[in-house]
Amino acid sequence: MEEIQTFLSGRIWLKEKTPFPLPTIEDYIQKGFIIPHKGIQSKQLSRILKSKQHHCRRCGFEQLSSFQCAKCKGPCLYCRHCIRMGRVSSCTVLITWSGPGIKQVPSHLFSWEGKLTPKQDLASKELLQSVRQNQSHLIHAVCGAGKTELLFPAVFDLLERGKRVCVATPRTDVVLELAPRFQQVFPQTVIHSLYGGSPEYTNYAQLIIATTHQLYRFEEAFDVIFVDEADAFPYTLDVTLQNAVNKAKKKAAAVHTITATPSDELLRQTVNKSVISGRFHGFPLPVPRFVGLWNYKKHIRIGAIPQKLKKWTMHCLHQNQPFLIFFPTIELMEQALPLFLILHSEILSVHAEDPNRKEKVLKLRERKVIGLLTTTILERGITIPDVQVAVVGADELIFTSSALIQIGGRVGRSIEYPNGDLVFFHHGISYAMDKAKETIEAHNKDSGFK
């Protein structure tokens, strides 16, 4: 009983895919402790036309695929959107827990030795106040302001009061970076970190660090959700992810947002907000240099690194400084990799589907490789001391102003190396590049730099 309760509380799960035997699940359904739901839900759009709108009960996706099903012997709809979590179709059943709630005596330890800067401290107190009043709060803090630390007091307060808390982010890399930090600060708390391919837990966690995708599998679970890096791809583009956050929280729960680059809409919506325009170490944000790199695509295609880019890379190699070079497409990056390998044999490339992504970033951090070529996948969530950053084709559409600001945020994060070079190589200056530079300069001005 207890096991099923702890596993299923707040979750929505495929009936056939739980770690428990099916007869037991059936028995609980009979007793009313577990509620079954149809995998695909329909709502009548128009009575006259008898047209129906179908959607996936788990992720809410509406563009479903259909096939002749051998199990239910008829046309069956299924959802491709969340298929990696096990397929939801017309003839599958999802289950939720409706039995007694989890009763537990909160016992948490807050073990953090660090100290907040006055600005962090103020923002942290403002957040704590909003949390206590259960009102949404926006933390707008520049890259390297120390956003994670200022969550700790609010999270501790919630845990102590027995609340279930989720820190969600669109990026797996961010989950991987956050989870160990939270575990260190709350050593006695059961914390689950959930992302595609993470271990499956059967016990109950009061604190969950998860990708927003994983929230498809929760329902009315959390008393509070913090969405970190809320403007990151694909969260802003994918409505089902935003719905997932709403579905995963309890009805009355507040959602708090933390980001360095809030959208105009987000700024308009939120009433309570704290702004931190300077970095925790007190040095200004690196301002990008614009360097023209004409016809870079053609040069790379015909097998030559453009001179200025080559010079920049050679400089990093010479100074033995780790570097990141961002490319607009995987294709261009893969064309460029062999050319860079001629300069130095310890350069790797990394992109979203790369199975060794985690290891490669780690190698750069440990200085086992000198440089990484990357797509926008590494635009946020990573900290590498003394890293130098170049963007090739900064004028390409994929580099929005917030992407460029985030990329720039990789430079000079650590107190040992608060400066570093940030170059935007371009084939014409875009509006986004200008906006990124202006925003960075405005933040610096706000923190008292000229």
Binding site: F67, A70, I83, R84, S89
Partner: protein, 206 residues
């Protein structure tokens, strides 16, 4: 159009065939398409000579190698049950509409079919609009996975023939060709039931 595999939107190159609806629009982008590796030359089989199955199967043709990309896509299709991915291979199976032979897909065991909800072999033919007939039935629900080559070659007959195939010319269809056990058993059963010729086509050659 969004690519069925990587879901990025892509623009297809125009062609007269597509314009006049002779050729359907592609369901995946060029980049994803280019990662599949076509088999140009068919290897001849001799591992079965000397066994009772020798000569049962007249020829085998496979379309693709089992490279990492195919493994990835095939896994999503067969085990994550993403039925729609069968559409990727419509162009490969479409020419079968023209053949005069009887097209026979390798069946799943009924229990397996119920569990998987679709037959991953039939689905290729359904999407390519190829008429076929289920004349075989699988006699036991045992997977070939985990068996050694010798084990596979010496198992008892895996199929029985449900309909009259006297004097028929048959094309067997399967998804994977690994050791050839499945196809040799099926061909053996068909020849025994009176089929005149049996050749086979598989999507993938391991």
């Amino acid at each position: 159009m969004n690519c069925l595999i990587c879901s990025t939107s892509f623009i297809e190159s125009a062609s007269w065939q597509k314009l006049f609806l002779i050729k359907p629009a592609d369901v995946i982008c060029n980049q994803c398409r280019s990662k599949f590796e076509k088999i140009l030359k068919t290897k001849s089989e001799n591992e079965w000579s000397g066994t009772i199955y020798e000569g049962a199967l007249d020829s085998v043709k496979s379309f693709y190698t089992y490279n990492d990309w195919m493994k990835h896509v095939f896994q999503q299709y067969k085990f994550q049950l993403d039925v729609e991915l069968a559409k990727i291979f419509v162009e490969d199976f479409r020419p079968l509409r023209q053949v005069q032979e009887l097209i026979v897909p390798i069946p799943l065991h009924p229990e397996m079919l119920h569990e998987r909800t679709f037959s991953q072999v039939d689905q290729f033919l359904i999407d390519a609009n190829v008429p076929f007939k289920n004349v075989l039935s699988k006699t036991e629900n045992r997977s070939q996975v985990g068996k050694t080559r010798k084990d596979r070659m010496s198992t008892e007959l895996l199929f029985s023939v449900q309909e009259n195939v006297q004097e028929q010319h048959i094309v067997l269809i399967d998804d994977l060709y690994t050791t050839g056990t499945t196809l040799h058993h099926a061909a053996f059963a068909l020849k025994k039931a009176g089929a005149q010729t049996v050749r086979a086509i598989t999507l993938i050659r391991v």
